[in-house]
């Protein structure tokens, strides 16, 4: 009997293999099943829940299931996008782990035929104040992302970074890539046309990443730390050549299908293209370019060496392909052909070394698990928190300063200054505002991009928290003047075999699904990363929402910064006594508990539509959504870019700390020229959006008077210095 354990399979799964092939698998076959049926490749615990996602819509040209999702933006153009995690590799080797994460997601985009035009990244780390290891990870991850993205020449235009103890020992690194494509140029990973050639192009195959996919599917333990052979090294220069060569090839019409080699390497690429196409494929491992001598077929088939692509080429046009590839300094070799016998046959020269039904390997053949789920104790416990349990602070200047320099709120400039966010000269709104905006050349249009997830909310209430992640992403898109279009989701969770974690996962999917349905932003692609836990704890549930929106006129793009003195500041939406799960509670009172803010989807939609209309009519000077840190932090954020202060008056029945730091949903700060005030007020009234005028852009101080008493008075320069320098200060 084979050792199914060693490849991460269970006895039942092993029996399932025997059922499929009618005999015991040999070592190569077993390993192929091992990697393909790993959680990472087969989604065996998550797939059953995906049916909840809204995935179609008028604008969706490609939903989940391909290398990336594609959504129409008009003018015969479309946006391809996807997010992917590289958490475990980054925990072990932050630079290379993050770099290869970026490289992998870029390949997913150009495998669709799209030209990558932007990168984003969503990062989570443990307590940076406490651990040197966390600093090391942050520095390495950021340098890795920069190293890859800068070199390949794709701007990194946005992202997010949060710190929380739940990520001690288990950082999250999710990379998102966005590409642009003409409707009729969309390519898919299909191995169709019997007799067509399978060609391999890119870097040689080495022993790197052996077991990478199954590696991502186990908890981090002492033992897995030793599986360090899994470390892959990125080669952005090679990828740049590969990218240009592939896009040029796709224009020739000689390419029937194209697939990147990602997790589970050749095994996965062959099996996926075969099942999407004619059904079968035959390849010869001896033809695969290798980096090392003496590699066993198993190693060749499951290696996760980077910067490789598989091409399905129309028979007879192989030479044409070689020529283009060689022009870019690379080589392409024929490694096999398309068959229609539904089998994936691997040969070593003349000898057949694996022969299995292709479908049985991929997710349709893999087992599916409906895990048990159970509401965890902490969930009910947290709801018992009352704000009366905490004392009201004295001295709000100090409270605000402490919030502004806390790493979750502090400026992320130290990070995005290391990313080339301008290359290709399309970045209209750079990192630092709510969402990045890129112009689309050849049209008047622009797109807005963001990633969002408040994982503390998702921990305290996975369903509502996940909804909020979606609406917050949409708010960022709307504040930049764009209409939200579609979502890619990066779902990062603990061990799905544990009922409380599975509950979190299930709730989160339901929340995302509901919000996406309400906002009409279908989920077009995504990624799941489970087993993000250590011996002692799991990460907070972290469903990262990557969103794209479109602006019909990019000149109308809006930012969050105050623009000129005398502009009137309005607060949209209502502030309630909602302090549960807030940044204020965490930083100032060291509590991570409470009921998270209530989200009213109907109201949310009305506010978003009103803002969008006002921006599109050119009536707003700035727009910013209120999130972590509430209105006090929001005002500070609007002030800093141009050093413009504000004189604010808040009249309220709430306790002062609640008024200032509540994180009630569906709230925005906008600034308006006095001449436009009436027009804006009319839009808001017609949309039944509650709003109040709270003051003016004025001077170089942020001053907040509450119920006739000055509670905050700080020079913008002082706030800014602290806020801008905080992360640098923590690291150096």
């Amino acid at each position: 009997m084979n050792n199914y354990d060693a490849v991460g399979l269970t006895r039942d799964e092993y029996d399932r293999i025997i059922d499929y092939i009618g005999r015991e698998p040999n070592e190569l076959e077993l390993n192929m099943y091992g990697v393909m049926w790993s959680e990472h490749c087969s989604y065996k615990h998550s797939r059953p829940l995906f049916k909840h996602f809204p995935t179609s819509g008028e604008k969706v040209l490609q939903g989940p299931g391909e290398n990336a999702g594609i959504v129409d933006i008009g003018d015969n153009l479309a946006i391809a996008m996807k997010i992917e995690s590289h958490n475990h590799p980054s925990a072990i080797e932050p630079y290379q782990g993050a770099a290869t994460g970026v490289g992998g997601i870029i390949r997913d985009i150009f495998a669709m035929g799209a030209r990558p035009i932007a990168l984003l990244n969503s990062l989570r780390f443990g307590e940076i104040e406490k651990y040197d290891r966390v600093k090391y990870l942050l520095e390495g991850v950021v340098e890795g992302i920069a190293g890859y993205g800068n070199c390949i020449g794709i701007p990194t235009v946005g992202g997010e970074v949060y710190f929380n103890s739940s990520y001690n020992g288990n950082p999250l690194v999710n990379a998102m890539c966005v590409g642009i494509i003409e409707h009729d140029k969309i390519h898919r990973g299909n191995a169709s046309g019997v007799g067509n050639s399978i060609m391999y192009v890119g870097a040689a195959t080495g022993r790197d990443g052996i077991g990478g996919a199954s590696f991502a599917s186990v908890e981090l333990t002492e033992e897995s730390e030793e599986k360090r052979s899994a470390v892959q090294v990125g080669d952005p220069f090679m990828e740049k050549l590969l990218l240009e060569a592939c896009l040029e090839l796709l224009d020739t019409g000689s390419i029937v299908g194209i697939q990147d080699l990602g997790a589970a390497g050749l095994t996965s690429a062959c099996c996926e293209t075969a099942t999407r196409g004619e059904g079968g494929m035959e390849i010869d491992v001896l033809k695969i370019p290798r980096r090392e001598k003496g590699m066993h077929p198993v190693e060749v088939m499951i290696s996760e060496s980077q910067e490789r692509m598989l091409l399905i080429v129309e028979k007879g046009r192989e030479r044409e392909v070689e020529e283009i590839v060689e022009k870019w300094g690379l080589h392409a070799v024929v490694i096999g052909k398309v068959t229609d016998n539904d089998k994936l046959v691997v040969k070593e020269g003349e000898k057949v070394v694996a022969d299995i039904p292709a479908e049985s390997l991929d997710s349709s053949g893999a087992p599916k698990y409906y895990s048990d789920y159970q509401v965890p104790e902490y969930y009910k416990e947290a709801k018992k928190f009352k704000y009366n349990d905490i004392k009201e602070p004295t001295g709000y200047n100090e409270v605000l300063l402490n919030l502004l320099k806390s790493p979750n709120i502090a400026s992320k400039e130290w990070i995005y200054r290391q990313y080339d966010h301008m290359v290709r000269t399309n970045t209209v709104v750079k990192p630092g505002s709510d969402a990045a905006v890129l112009r689309i050349r050849g049209t008047k249009k622009g797109i807005a991009l963001t990633t969002d997830c408040n994982s503390r909310y998702c921990y305290l209430d996975p369903r509502e928290g996940s909804k909020i992640a979606v609406v917050e992403a949409a708010r960022n898109i709307v504040c930049s003047g764009a209409k939200p279009l579609a979502v890619t989701d990066g779902l990062n969770f603990g061990n799905p075999e544990k009922p409380d974690r599975y509950w979190q996962f299930r709730e989160s999917i339901l929340g995302i699904s509901e919000a996406c349905r309400e906002l009409d932003t279908p989920v077009i692609s995504g990624n799941v990363s489970f087993y993000n836990e250590t011996d002692t704890h799991a990460i907070h549930p972290t469903p990262i929402i990557g969103m794209v929106g479109v602006l019909d006129d990019v000149e109308k793009a809006c930012t969050m910064y105050f623009k000129s003195e005398g502009d009137i500041i309005l607060q949209l939406g209502e502030t309630k006594a909602e302090i549960g799960g807030s940044e204020y509670l965490s930083i100032i009172h060291h509590l991570e508990t409470g009921e998270i803010p209530f989200i009213n989807m109907a109201m949310e939609k009305r506010v978003q539509e009103a803002i969008l209309e006002a921006i599109q009519r050119g009536l707003l000077e700035s727009a910013h959504d209120l999130s972590e840190g509430g209105i006090a932090v929001g005002l500070a954020e609007c002030s800093m870019e141009k050093g413009l202060g504000a004189e604010i008056t808040l009249n309220t029945n709430l306790r002062r700390d609640l008024e200032l730091f509540s994180e009630s949903q569906s709230r925005f700060l906008i600034s308006v020229k006095p001449a436009n005030l009436d027009a804006v007020a009319r839009i808001l009234e017609e949309s039944r959006v509650p709003f109040r005028s709270i003051g003016k852009v004025m001077g170089n101080k942020l001053q907040i008077v509450m119920n006739q008493e000055t509670v905050i008075e700080l020079p913008v320069a002082e706030i800014e210095e602290l806020w801008r320098g905080a992360i640098k200060c923590l690291i150096e």
Partner: protein, 79 residues
């Protein structure tokens, strides 16, 4: 006392830098070049310290900071 530390990518780890430079050398006419691997040479000036002490310290420095032992190997010489 002076020490030289050599840090090189482990054999099993890909070395894109080395490969690219190898290709470049071939292209400009050095066709005998079969493989290139690029590592670091770190020269350290150590003050008054015995050779034994230096050895202990250098090993530690390599493990802690100078080499990334996940992907690199190291060796050193004391002059």
């Amino acid at each position: 006392m002076k020490a030289k530390v050599y840090v090189t990518p482990k054999k099993s780890i890909a070395d894109p830098q080395g490969n690219a430079i190898g290709r470049a050398l071939n292209k400009i006419g050095y066709d005998k070049v079969e493989d290139v691997r690029i590592g670091k040479l770190i020269e350290i000036e150590l003050g008054q310290i015995t050779k034994e002490e230096a050895e202990v310290q250098l090993k530690e420095m390599c493990e802690k900071l100078l080499a990334n032992t996940v992907i690199e190997q190291y060796s050193f010489e004391i002059e």
